[in-house]
Every structure is written in C-alpha cells, then in structure tokens.
Subunit: 349 residues, 4 copies
C-alpha cells in the first residue's frame, strides 16, 4: 500500500473531528457562525491563547483568511511587509494585490524575516524624501512555522513584535501549520506567547486535523472593527458556520489540536533522523512536520515506487529537491515503510 | 420539540452525503480538486446537464462563486445587470463592487427580470451619446429560483437568453437553490434547458443537501479561460478539494439532488396550502421551497412558541412579513406540527 | 459665427488665468504641489471658505477627485450614498466601483436628495437583521449645484449635514460647478456655509474658468489622513503641480472665481427668461448656468442652424430635451443671437 | 541667479507650446478629446512613429497612464513583469496594485531588464507545478530611457520583443522621457523601431516640453479594445481634452519634440564631460538627460550655494549620490555656471 507524504491535506479530518460533525449533523442552528458551537469553539480558543479579550473569527481557508485580514488591517495607501518566500507573495495567485495592496518583500532566511531587516526597511522608507510616492509599510506578515518548516524563537518574535509596535504597524502571523509549530522540537513559542506578541494571527485547522477551517485570533480588536461584513464581502462566510464551530470545538476541547501537532512532528523527526543517518543532509533544518532533502534522482525514483511526496522545485539533472510532510494521518508504520524503501535503493544505477 | 423553517441551511448535510464523506475520510488524494472524486462529480454533473463539453468547477459558497464568476466574465469597464432584488445587489456585502464592478439594476418582478426590460436597458445605453462615460452592461445575472422563490418559465428564459446573446453578453444564473427550482410546481425548466440557455450557471449544494459547495457549470468555456487561478485568487480554492467532489458525487450519482428538491417543494406546498385554506394569502406566489406570508402579529407570536422562521423585513405594527423555508431536513411531521400550531392560535388578542 | 452652449468646458481658460500661466511659465519650482504658488492658492481658498484649519488639495479633474476622496473616506465594507442622478452613479464609468465601493442610491428630486430620505435609508439599514450582509452607508455624496443645475438651500443642507453627523458619516459635496451654485438666483448658500456643513467638498476649476483643476477642501482633516499618497496612487498628482496653484491663485486672488459665476448665471437667466416669455417651460427650474427645455423638434432644428447645444437624452419623436449651458466664455451677444434664432423659427413645418 | 537641475518638470511648457495654447484659448471645441486638434496631434504622432494603423490616446500624467494601460492589458489573474527599479514598482504609490495586479520583479541592470532573464522567468514559471497558484506574467513593462537614464539598444529591444511575443505577452514601454532617449548619445533606437517592437508605449510630454500630457501609442489595438471608458474610469479623461491635442500638435508639427530632446541631451553631456574631466566618475553611465554622480559632501555643499539638484538616496557620511537633470529650459549658460561652481570648490574642508 502506498504511503503519502505529499502534504498535510491529503486525507480528510481527524476521526474525532468527523465524529463530532456526524453527531451534530441533524441539529438545526442559526447560520453564519452565530450558533452555540461556534461560541464554544471561540471560548476554547481564547482559553488556549490565554487571552480572554481576543476576538475570534472562523474562516474556511488560508488564502481567504490572509486576504481578508490583510485587507482589513491596511489603509488604502499601505502595503504588507513579508518575506520573499511568504505564502502571500508566492502562492496565493495575487489575492493580496487583488484587494489593492502591494506585498513589500524582505529577504527570506530559511523562510523567516529578521527583526533588524524589518526595522531597517521601515527606517529607510521614511528616510527617503520621496516616500509619499511609495507604498507605505502598513503591517508585517510572517508565518509560524514558515513555508520551509522553520520556526521563530521567542526571542526572535519578541524582537519582531517590538519593531512593529515601535513603528505602529500590526504584526500578523499566518499559522496555517500552527499546530506543528507549537510542537516543534526546537521552538520555545507557546500559543500564549503568540497571542501576547501578535496583533492578529490564525490557527490553521485545514492542515491540522479539520476538514477545513482557520481560526483568526484578534488580540487587538480595535484594529479590525467591522470584520464581519468584510468576511462576507470576501466570500469567506460559511452559511453553515457551525461546521467550523463544531470542528474547532473538537480540536480544542481536550487538547486534540496539540496532540495532532506532537504526533506529526515526532514522526517527521523520525523520518529526518533516518535520512540523516543514511548520509543525506536536509537543505533546510526544519524542526516541524515538513522535511526537505536534496536527493540523488535514483533514490527519488526508488522511493516513488512505494511512496508519494512532492518535488520542491523542478527535477534537477542529477539530484532533486523533495519534501516530505507528515500529518495527523501519518503513522509509525508509514515511516517504517519509507525507511525500508530508503534501505532498499538499488546500488548501481 | 421545536420545528425549523428559518432557512435551508440550518441543518448539516443529507445523511447520504455525510456517509460518503465518512467512508472516504481516510483516503489520501491530491489537493485542490485534482482528485478522482472531483472528476467523477464533474462528469455526473455534465451528464445531468446534457452538456458533455461543459467545464465544471466546484467552489465552496454562493457569494464567493458569484464574485469569482462575475469577475472572470467581465472586462474592467463593464458591470453586471441584475434585478434590484438580486442577491449580488443586496446581500453580498458589496462583493461584486469589491472586485471593481458595478451592479446595474433592473426592476424586480417578484424577483425576476423581464427580457424586454433587459433589451430596453441595453438599447437605451447604446443610444445615449455619453455611453462611453457610463458602465457598460457586460453580462446578465439572474437567479433560478429567485430570492423570492419564483421561477422563470422556459419561454421566459429563452427570451432572456436571446436578448443576451443578441447583445453579445453572457447570461449567468445563480442556482443557489437550483434543486428546488427544478422541482417547482409551476416551472417547466429542466437542467438541460438551463445548460442550453445560460453561458454559466451554478448548481447550489449548500442549500440542497451538502455541507457546503456550489458547482459552476460553464457551457461556454471560451468565456472563462484561466478560471483556476481566479478561483485561487478569490480564496475560493479548497485545499481538500475532494470534499466537494465526494459531496457532489453523492448528490448526483443516483438522483439524490433531485429527490431532495422534490421532497422539500412538496412539503412547502403542503405548508402553503394549509395557510391559504385558513385564509392567509402569500404575498409572493412561490412554487418552490420558500413561502412568504404577511401574518397578523398574534399569529406570528403563537407560531413562534413552537416553530422558528424568519422575519422578512422588520416586524410591522399589526402584521409582519415572514418566510418559511423547507429543506432536505424537513419532514411531513414538521408540517403537521406547524399546521397544528396554526389551528391553535388563540382567538382573542 | 456659431454660438456655443454645449457645456462649460468648451473653451480654454479665462484670459486672466491663462495670463498668469504665461507670466510664470519660465520660473522653476519644485514639483507635485510643494511650490509657493500652490501654498498661496490654498491659503486664498481657506480664506474664501472662512476655514483657516481646512486642508486643501489641488487635483486635476472631477471624476478623479471624486474617486480619490471617496476611496479615502470609506472603509472597505462601506459604500457611498448618492442621488440616483448623481455624477458618480451615472457618468464616471464606474470609477467608484473600480476602487471597490458600491454607490447606494437615493431618489433624486431634480438632482437633490432629501435629508428625510437619507435618515430613513440609514435607519432602515440598521433595522434590518441582515445588515451585516449588506453594504453599510459610509458617507453621503451630493452635488452643489446638482447635475440638473438645482441648488440646495441653507436649510436643506443644514438638515442633511445634521443627519449625516448624527449617523457619524461624512458629508461630501461635489462642487464641479460650485461657482455657478454660489451665484444662483435662488440659493442662499455661501462658501462659508458649505465649509461649515460639509466634511469635505471640492471647488471646481475646470468648468469655472481654469484650464483644469479641482480644489478639495477638507474641513475635517482627521477623516482624510494620508491623502497625499492616495492622490499619487490614483494618478491624480500633477508633476508640475504649480500649474494648479497658479490657476487657483488667479481665480481666488481678486474674486475672479465669483465674478465668473455671477456673469454666467446672469446670462443663463436671460436665456431662460427669453424661452419662458415665448411659451416654453423648463423641465427643471434651474437657478444656475444650466437650462433645460423640452422643445419641439422644428425649434431644435432651427436653433441648431446657428447654435450648438446638447441633447439631454435621445431625440424624441416630436419634442426633444435639450440643455443650454453658459460659462465665463459666454457673452450677452451670444444670448442676443440665440434669442434672435428663437424668434426666427419658421412657423409652418 | 540660481540654476536648476532638479528635474525636467520644474519649469512650465516650452514657449512654442504655451503660445499655441494661448492662440487657441478662446476657441470652442467639443470635450474629452473628440476635437480636431486632438485628431491632428494623433495623426502627427502616427506619422512620427511610421505606424498609420496605431491608435493614439492622450492622457494627463505618467502614473495615470501606466495604471490605465496596464489595467487594460492584463487579465485579472495576471501581473506585470518589470525591473525592480521600474517606476511602477517603486514610485507610483501602489497604483498598479490598486487596480488588482501584482508587479513581478526582474533584476535591474542599470535600470534595464535582460531578454534572457525575461525568458527565464517565464520558462521557470510554467515549469513550476504550482504555477496556477501563482501570478502569471501577463505583460512586460520597461522604460526607455530608464529611470537611470540608460537606454536599450535596438538589438536589446529586438531580443526583448521577441521573447515577449514568443510568450504571447505584450511589451509595453514607459516613455516618460522618450524624447531624451531618442536623442541619446549612445542609443540607436528610433521612434519607428519602438513602434515596430512594442505593442503599446507612451511618448512623454510632461517632461519634454508640455505643461502635461502623455501620448499612448497602441500599435496592436486588438489588445486594448474599450480603452476610452477605462480612461474615464481611471480619472484620466481631461474634460478640455483639446489642451492635450494642442500641445502634442505643437510638439510634433515641426519636430519640436525631437529638438527639445537633442538640446537637453547635448547639455547633459557637456555637464557629464565637465565632471569627468575633473575626476568624478558617474555611478551610472547615462547617455541621456539625467546624470548621476557620487560626490564628496564638500563639493555637494558648494554646488548647492548656486545650483539646485536632487539627492539620489539619502546623504551619506562623506559622499552623496546626486542627480542633475536637463530639460528644454536648460541653457548653455546654466552649464557654464555649474562648471564655474565646480571649479571654485574650496580646497580645504
């Protein structure tokens, strides 16, 4: 049987999440997220963040969430700072620009931005006599973990948060894979830290056990007044909003969200260790559920006979960059099978 | 136990739809709608429409679908014609304008537009010397059934289609409640007619048995080239796209979609008959699953003791406009209970 | 020699304005409106408005000004209220919608809106349970004088201003023909009243003696912070900004702007009187420089032999609606000639 | 008397241009560019370009022109390729993004892009499996001369044009300073070459002798159908459109446009030679009317006592980057004075 490491959204929902959807399926509730499941989910998320005053909004997908939040945070003359590798700059088909805002790029350090470079960008911007002819940096977007699986440390995030707040621009964190970041083997950032340091962030459900769904946490609600009509305007308001409430309630009622993260990261680290022990070096050192290796093409071809995973960039002449991702649906047996495949690569090719 | 007539999205999915989601939950598929469930769902929809060359796209919600399709169909200097009562003009929080396009309004005749008035609008527009300073009518949006539950007849739709095509503008049909329109007691429009007469339309899943999902059918694919990146840009691309495929496969494999429509319309007509027999006249004569009555407030208050339904407009001083909606989740027993309530209104108030 | 009543922008600039452009042509100044001519023009405008704290911005054209100001005043989820006949709703090619905002229409009473109807719109909006799904009225746009040449009285504008401020939405006045409104034979609104009652308005130059140029007066600057980059973003920033400064300085240094208005309105009223004395009734009773008559087609045809003017709507079967406009370039002799033409219409046709 | 090298838009219009505006000031014409001056100007421009089938549109300013043209050329899912230093990417306050389109950046080689790098970008884009999630390169924007005064050679432009057309994307050239590019000491590109190789380009008037105005030349009109309403929608339609016609007629009737370019470039090269002979090296080798030097701050300070010019970037600790620009208003005497200043820098500082 084939084993899957393509992404963390190849299977459906964690069985406990699906079970709750089934249990509640016949109940009637009001629409658009005004139901009691959604209320409870929001309260559980506030508790998990240690932020009782936060506003929580449940949206359907990541690109949609980024576009809606960023549109809400920026004034018309402002753009959003982001790493050149940031999802909003690369893989959202221009959703940010479609709402009228420029993505202002910063160098990517394995997916991360440096507080010093954020500060420098803003300082240089206002030092330029012609800055009123340019797009003003109106907020900072970062991902935790990043698109390359790396994580910010608490010290790094504190420095970034300080720079943003000194410049009076909000800090927004894309947490599409937040659960895996919280479980990172090298990270030291808890959800409460993130809630303390960011103005807005989202806790990804789609990639961490839900069928779909992203929970936007607004710790500084003054920045996002009138967000409800904006959600509707962006086509991000689910009619049967309780589906989001039910899922996030299931994920946060008993810590399931965190267990999923831990399990997937543990398996990803097993996978990494196996490759490293066999002499392969990851080209990004990721402490989360994504693992990146440049492998000889004969190894890649052999692995593909029993496993599925992504080319990260086009296939090279002799080697190729590939990515392995674990999720709630990955098992120890999947890792065992992959390692067995790795150990059976024919020598002469 | 309370009975619900608030809307057709107060419960979850039809049990058969949910069952298919559960059965397929652990399978791994590629994302973004490139999976085989989605392929099969598209093929079934093409068959149901009698249009083997149509392109089908599965999106999540109605406002999102309208905004994405209309954005794709219009050139920058064009707007979309719609009835003043059209969903895009009233209840989508400006989603169409947010993508840069004006909604050009036509009179609403119980939710419908007249072919003659469409033709007149276009003729007057180009007769005006200053038309290049005005927003050109670039397409027509109608709903079938309309927001008021009424339906276009085949003759009406043929006339509208003819006017649009003579003017070289596409006809787009919002079918959020398409299933109930196809089952209308007075209508004569089959899905194949709609496919033949419209350039683009969507078959609503959210309100007709799915958890969520709308199937866009493009019978004239030349009009919507490069639609995939536009779906992504609009935040309308579901990562676990197979969820849409699985649901629409369940709805169209054995005619479930049509059965849901028939059942809900039958119950709505029972409801209407009961009110009419008791001397109440609907303020819109709807042959579908929505029923509209202006009721004395004492009747409204009594019904509210056991039933839930919507005020259609604000509560009046002596009477109020209310709406009753049936869905796949409505039963004969629900209607029985509502009728019993109606028969037990206290006489002296 | 032909006489022209087509519009108030058929000739170039008032000779005094052009003379100042010629006198200052060889001087070097900094660009983008940071020059001393612009400073002086702004100060003169502030004085004319009796509002020393107002911010003044000089833009090039009317549609551009409306789009930039409205974009600056509205939040993303808001639209702009306007009369159905308002220039932004009809003749700006969707410029407002192109920036993402809906124009919410009110009935037009000879081009004007009623304070009571503005209040009613806002009240009904928030009384609707689903208002968060609809476009919120975020400001009011009116024209003074209107597109039909009519003017608001002081009492009317006070009532409108009060309604807007009670609802916490700004009042914006399109003054493309402001000079003619100030000179209206029936009006009682001075520039200082307008500055007192509106939050933002503009004083039109293009139609009142300048080659081009509109002066935006922001009496409530907190509403339009960061307007400069927005002007640039809208392509409304003139490189040689001093051209605007020089022209508005010429118009406001010695009251030229007001003289132009008075002269053109006096001539328009002579024209109206002549038509009325000959039995023709204006279909709008305009006290400003635009005059509207429905004339028999034989009269129209005869007038066209020596004069030029606009059809206001398409030519009818027996009569046609036409418009006569005076400007700084109209003379008493032009009116004499038109009246002579009117007196020489052949009787049998 | 101070001498000015700040920019090419510090003075008014070339006297011959202004004279024509004065001569024609009292004539009445129809508005919005439908007058005969505009017709003649367009015909003269077509002749100058050797392209009798080109469509010509006269707009007011450069940012406005770029935003309108690019908005017209791109489909909603596309972005515009440009050098990182391109005006649209840096100094237009996000005008391109405000219309919903991403600026996709290429490396800048002294302001120019390389055909090979354009080709590589496009090839890599479509080689990426996820390209449908990314912004498609829908056109190429270049400047001739560039923002750094450099020019493309005919061979370079031919290669670029070939790459664009092989990829089926239009080539658009920003010619804000076209007149100076045509007169470049090192260039070999005539207007007819540009018309032959580009799909759309504009001939800048604002910086080359006009009060304002940019002439858009569309050599491939199928790409920009319905451009008129788009001009209006962008607020770029001048009511007294003949002002643009009169100016461009004056510039192109007797070769004035080309004379202005030659004169200014000759003076700029005198300036460059003087600096080079005194041991200063330009940090960009510009053959046009902009000259860039990194000078010791004591030299800068001394020059500022009698001349005005721009800091190109912030003032450094010991040296600063400065820019000198000539225009139609620069004279040999201005250069003499600047050289005299340069020769009188005090030695000990």
């Amino acid at each position: 049987m084939k084993i899957y490491f393509d992404s963390d959204y190849t299977a459906g929902a964690h069985p406990q999440v699906l079970a709750r959807l089934a249990e509640t399926n016949l109940l009637h509730t009001v629409g658009y997220g005004c139901d009691s499941f959604t209320d409870r989910a929001k309260e559980l998320i506030r508790q998990a963040c240690g932020c009782p005053t936060a506003e929580v909004h449940l949206l359907v997908g990541g690109t949609q969430t980024n576009a809606t939040v960023i549109d809400g945070l920026l004034a018309r003359h402002q753009g959003v700072l982001a790493a050149e590798s940031g999802h909003i700059n690369v893989h959202e088909a221009g959703a940010i620009e479609a709402t009228g805002h420029k993505v202002l790029t910063l160098p990517s350090h394995d997916g991360k931005v440096l507080a010093t470079e954020v500060e420098e960008y803003i300082r240089n911007f206002y030092a330029d006599d012609t800055y009123q002819h340019m797009v003003a940096p109106g907020m900072l977007y970062i991902s935790q973990p990043t698109e390359l699986g790396t994580v910010y440390t608490r010290a790094e995030l504190e420095a970034i948060s300080e720079v943003c707040h000194a410049a009076h621009i909000p800090l927004y964190i894309d947490g599409a894979r937040m659960g895996y970041g919280l479980a990172a083997t090298e990270g030291d950032l808890a959800l409460a830290d993130i809630a303390r340091l960011a103005d807005v962030f989202y806790i990804g459900g789609t990639k961490v056990g839900a069928l779909f769904g992203e929970a936007v946490v607004v710790t500084n609600p003054a920045l996002l007044r009138n967000f409800f009509p904006l959600i509707k305007q962006h086509g991000a308001l689910l009619a049967k909003g309780r589906l989001l409430g039910v899922q996030f309630e299931a994920l946060f009622a008993d810590g399931l969200y965190f267990q999923i993260g831990c399990q997937a990261v543990r398996l990803a680290q097993r996978l990494k260790k196996a490759f490293v022990e066999r002499g392969y070096t990851p080209f990004v050192n990721s402490p989360t559920n994504q693992q990146f290796f440049r492998l000889p093409n004969n190894v890649v071809d052999h692995l593909l006979t029993g496993a599925s995973f992504e080319f990260w960039g086009p296939r090279g002449l002799t080697h190729s960059d590939v990515r392995f991702v674990t999720s709630w649906a990955t098992t120890d047996s999947d890792i065992d099978q992959l390692v067995a495949l790795l150990d059976s690569v024919p020598q002469n090719k």
